[in-house]
Amino acid sequence: MWEYSDKVKEHFLNPHNAGKLDDANVVVEVGSAACGDALKLYLKIEDEKIIDVKFQTFGCGSAIASSSVLTDLIKGKKLEEVKKITNQDVVNMLGGLPPAKIHCSVMAQEAVEKALKVYYKEDLGENLQPGEIIICHCFKVSNFKIEKAIKDHNLKTVEDVINHTKAGGACGKCKPDILEIINKIYKTQGERKMTNLEKIEKVKSVINDEIRPGLQNDGGDIELVDFADNVVSVKLKGSCSGCPMATMTIKSFVEETLKSRIDKNIQVKEVR
């Protein structure tokens, strides 16, 4: 409970734009009391621009803080900019959230998406689509929503899905179904060939998000130098450079991680 960043605490204790907005022309609500968090967003939209915004949130510290930074992110912005805002922007503004609280930032993004749909009078997608079924009955999360979360956020494990969507987080009975969805998605993705550009992006994100934190813990670091024909050239820094174990580190850790995440043909080469 006390893993919150100072930023989260700041927004939680002194939230921006809390309360009701009397002259709002779009009001949406996501979540519910049963789920443990709910967000009501009041927006005044004029000329495709958010003139004013307020929120009311029922939820824990990170839910309130997520709502607060969301209003900062969208206030005064053009709708075309607002459309691009994701839960990751909320997380970043908060200086990070504990994994189990990521769903609070997702709730913020969902509120904005819903508000835009209401404004543009689009279908809210609240009725189940053909082929859509409820997977998590505790939190009423459908297969479509889970699939979207997995694809949008590159979720790999059931735990990731729980943290983002809450699905599977209560009784846990649907965990095998979630795992099946994950496996299905990565199987079909594997069949499609990634473009070189996609691969480079992916290599970058795996190195930055998964490999560097591990090395940095041991006082080392790694830099991506080049990528061509499935050969990833990297430079080792800090306590890794010149370490006799370095070759092994590259082979076993970096290469295995990249192979399992992206392409089993990837090779890693150390450059000095």
């Binding site: 409970m1 939230p15 967000l39 029922f58 510290g61 189990a100 505790c138 809450k166 009784c171």
Partner: protein
């Protein structure tokens, strides 16, 4: 106010200065091993025996032979259940309740995965079990029944003497987790049919890392930790001498203060409860109000979320607990409140205040003053009204 107001005594308690004082010489001065042949160690053994006398006295046990010292309440609970199933390997059924502490609940859930049938008794909206249901659930197949003496979250006290009588009449072993009851309400094991009982030191003003399993004379027993001959061969491992001596002192003090717990501490708890009820709208007291630990108040504030309340309380240096989903690690509110069918909009907003004899009237007044502001602020922010 600069210092914390600690209203979270069901989580853990302050080690009494008298207890610490009693323990200190047993680290660097009298550090002998109680099992040693020399009198430097033997002296410690004697002091441990005196401590056990005090623990036995608090519980109303017959003798110190019935006191097995363990490392914590969870070890005591696990040992009791484990002993029963090892003593009666042919019996594959266990009876317990849905509102037990995880030390019992999760061990039973684990056993259910290894071929045991577990009956988790339901509770009503006040957190009480149905004694007829209990009686019906007990069969020749039942190895042990384990029902807590008092619930840690709501303070609901179970009619343990009546329960032990029912279990005994069916010829089944009976264990109770008395971790929250010990030191707060009177326990007299001489009068009861309780075969095993668990307590934990740090809930009654001695340090963490020490617990007791009471084992009634002539009860079948199989140890959990196997090794040396300590605790009469019932629990291996070199004695945690200083902590046992501390627990002895704590037990002595608890016995002395039991009247105070049920008069003064109860008065402070009641004052807190009445004031919160009078000053804040839409609240609900959780638990069996007439059969409740004297120190515990579990109160729900509708339409606010417990973790948010705790964070604001934390800013004011007030320590308490919540049964909200955000605090349970899962995404569901407390299993105790769910078993009691507390509505979600109340369950998510539950706060547990648990007092001790170290709390003061001024602290209660301060909390009474601060809580309405916090709840009001959060309710103003909440989309739900009434």
């Amino acid at each position: 106010m600069s210092k914390e107001i600690y209203f979270d005594n069901n989580a853990t308690t302050k080690t009494s200065p008298e207890v610490l004082q009693e323990m200190l010489p047993y680290f660097s001065e009298y550090y002998g091993n109680p099992s040693s042949a020399h009198s430097f160690g033997g002296g410690v053994a004697k002091k441990i025996a005196v401590a056990k006398e005090k623990i036995a006295f608090l519980l109303g046990a017959d003798s110190i032979e019935e006191i097995i010292v363990t490392s914590c309440g969870s070890e005591s609970d696990n040992t009791a259940i484990n002993s029963a199933i090892l003593s009666f390997p042919e019996k594959k059924h266990i009876v317990t309740t849905k509102v037990e502490h995880p030390a019992v609940l999760n061990y039973c859930k684990y056993l259910s995965g290894t071929g045991y049938r577990i009956t988790f008794l339901d509770v009503d909206s006040l957190g009480r079990i149905d004694l007829k249901e209990l009686e019906k659930s007990l069969t020749d197949e039942t190895a042990i029944a384990s029902v807590m003496w008092a619930n840690n979250e709501t303070g609901t006290v179970f009619p343990i003497e009546k329960i032990s009588e029912i279990v005994k009449s069916k010829g089944v072993l009976f264990h109770t987790d008395a971790v929250q009851a010990a030191g707060k309400i009177n326990i007299d094991l001489k009068k009861s049919h309780i075969d095993m009982l668990s307590i934990s030191g740090h809930k009654l003003h001695s340090p963490k890392g020490i617990g007791v399993l009471y084992l009634k004379k002539n009860t079948p027993f199989k140890p959990f930790l196997i090794g040396g001959h300590q605790e009469n061969g019932l629990r291996a491992g070199t004695e945690n001498a200083a902590s046992i001596i501390g627990l002895g002192k704590a037990a002595e003090l608890a016995k002395k203060h039991i009247e105070y717990e049920n008069s003064e501490v109860k008065r402070l708890r009641d004052k807190l409860e009445t004031a919160l009820k009078n000053n804040i709208r839409l609240v609900k007291i959780n638990g069996d109000i007439d059969n409740r630990l004297p120190n515990t108040l579990n109160i729900s504030f509708k339409n606010v979320e417990g973790e948010a309340v705790l964070l604001y309380m934390n800013e004011k240096k007030i320590c308490a607990s919540t049964g909200s989903a955000c605090a349970t690690g899962s995404l569901e509110p407390s299993h105790v409140l769910m078993a009691m069918s507390v509505p979600y909009e109340y369950a998510h907003g539950s706060i547990r205040f648990s007092l001790s004899r170290y709390n003061t009237e001024e602290e209660v007044d301060e909390v009474v003053k601060i809580m309405p502001e916090i709840i009001e602020k959060l309710r103003a922010m909440s989309p739900f009204k009434d």
